[in-house]
């Protein structure tokens, strides 16, 4: 993996994660993360749209004049989302009913337009592909972790309804982590989404701060011994 490719992945997963740092696409992020499976479903759909739209925008970047770039981006994204929506209705209909309105709403997920404008329209296709995969994976990871956290705290289960997404074999993935009676209702309700995301952002900040402190400490020890 080349240096720039590694940097792109680092940006998408951690340094510039769309969910935790850019805080883009919060509406679907907060709304569907009641369970880990819902988060995974929307995460995969977003990952797919983001990757293909990055590729398409990068491929078209030579022929698109700046005046028409935003309409073209929107057209590309809206087309891809409609394709995903139709395919999900045809082959994953129960999941498509669960995620319902949020699939068409990927159109309005600013992450996708943001990456098209800020990255894909200026870089070669290979980089745009990596960026789409990296940012999409970063976003999906936040959705799954937040969904899993809310599901465990609120309902005491993990991976409930996995068969809607992955087929019948996945029924066995469902686990009871906590007894149902201990479920904290708040976690599943909308406020739980805000609290959960807030905790994740805070955890990330804390990790960064302690890492910085360690680097500084290491640097000053080196300084003293030198």
């Amino acid at each position: 993996m080349s240096e720039s490719r590694r940097e792109i992945w680092k940006q998408g997963l951690w340094n510039n994660n769309p969910g935790l740092v850019q805080l883009l696409g919060l509406c679907p992020l907060l709304a569907v993360t009641g369970t880990a499976v819902n988060g995974l479903g929307l995460g995969l759909a977003t990952l797919f749209v983001l990757t293909i739209s990055n590729l398409a925008v990068s491929a078209l970047r030579g022929i698109i004049r700046p005046e028409i770039r935003i309409p073209v981006f929107v057209l590309v994204i809206a087309t891809l989302v409609t394709v995903v929506d139709l395919v999900m209705q045809a082959w994953f209909s129960s999941l498509s009913r669960t995620l319902g309105i949020f699939i068409p709403l990927i159109v309005t997920n600013c992450t996708i337009l943001g990456r098209a404008e800020a990255f894909a329209s200026r870089r070669p296709m290979a980089d745009a592909l990596s960026d789409g995969l990296a940012q999409g994976t970063g976003f999906a990871a936040v959705l799954v972790v937040l969904g899993a956290g809310r599901e465990i705290v609120g309902r005491g289960t993990l991976m409930a309804d996995a068969h809607l997404l992955l087929g019948d074999w996945a029924r066995s993935l469902e686990m009871s982590v906590l007894p149902q009676e201990t479920g904290l209702l708040l976690a599943v309700l909308p406020p739980g989404a805000f609290i959960g995301l807030g905790l994740m952002v805070a955890a990330r900040n804390r990790i960064i701060r302690s890492r910085n402190a360690r680097t500084r400490a290491a640097a000053s020890t080196r300084h003293q011994t030198a």
Binding site: R65, I68, L75, V83, L86, S93, S94, R155, L185
Partner: protein
């Protein structure tokens, strides 16, 4: 300028072509998927072996007094004899808005069963109306406007004959009331409920 317009137009055309292709490829599958789901819902109350007509096709819409949304009624028949009337209705009286439910009525006016199709009731409290979460919804089986008498069709919290979900009196009452309204409509239309001509066209999507 012209070239810019041409580019935009070309990209638009490509997008349209791609979309029509995907639409054509998925159209039949989406329609049959919706049909299958509609039928699976209805079969929860009337097993496939109990009727021999095209249940999905044998339906009509009507207004049930007290429910603002048009109801869809399906009829199951065996050798042309009525087996069940299935009412797909929406009550606006839930705690968090609409509750959509399916009420199965035996030709003699007894409830075959009730299933919740869609709702937004509070998780952990009102969502106990779902069969997957509690057996509350089963209490309607066998009920009719005679047993319990029509005036007792209320939650026991409000002096009626039906169990109330704890901390979800509004939700419980909305469901009880909606079931009662279907039975009342049926008792007023008992003579023609199975005679009304079926509507044609695409099946609505329950």
């Amino acid at each position: 300028m012209l070239r810019t317009l041409f580019t935009l137009g070309l990209i638009g055309l490509l997008a349209a072509a791609l979309l029509s292709g995907v639409h054509l490829a998925t159209r039949d599958r989406i329609a049959s998927e919706q049909q299958r789901q509609a039928l699976a819902t209805l079969n929860q109350l009337v097993p496939e072996s109990a009727y021999d007509n095209e249940l999905i096709e044998d339906r009509f819409s009507t207004r049930i007094p007290g429910l603002p949304t048009l109801a869809t009624l399906y009829r199951a028949r065996l050798d042309d004899a009525p087996v069940a009337l299935l009412a797909d209705i929406i009550t606006p009286d839930g705690y968090s808005g609409d509750i959509r439910l399916l009420v199965g009525v035996h030709p003699d006016g007894e409830v075959i069963g009730v299933r919740i199709l869609e709702h937004r009731e509070t998780p952990g409290l009102g969502d106990q109306i779902e069969l997957e979460r509690s057996n509350w919804i089963r209490q309607f089986k066998g009920a009719s406007l005679v047993d319990p008498p029509a005036e007792s069709w209320a939650s026991d919290k409000r002096g009626g004959a039906f169990d109330t979900l704890s901390s979800a009196t509004i939700t419980s009452s909305a469901v009880i009331d909606a079931v009662r309204r279907v039975l009342a409509w049926y008792s007023a239309n008992r003579d023609n409920a199975f005679a009304i001509e079926a509507e044609s066209g695409d099946p609505s999507t329950p």
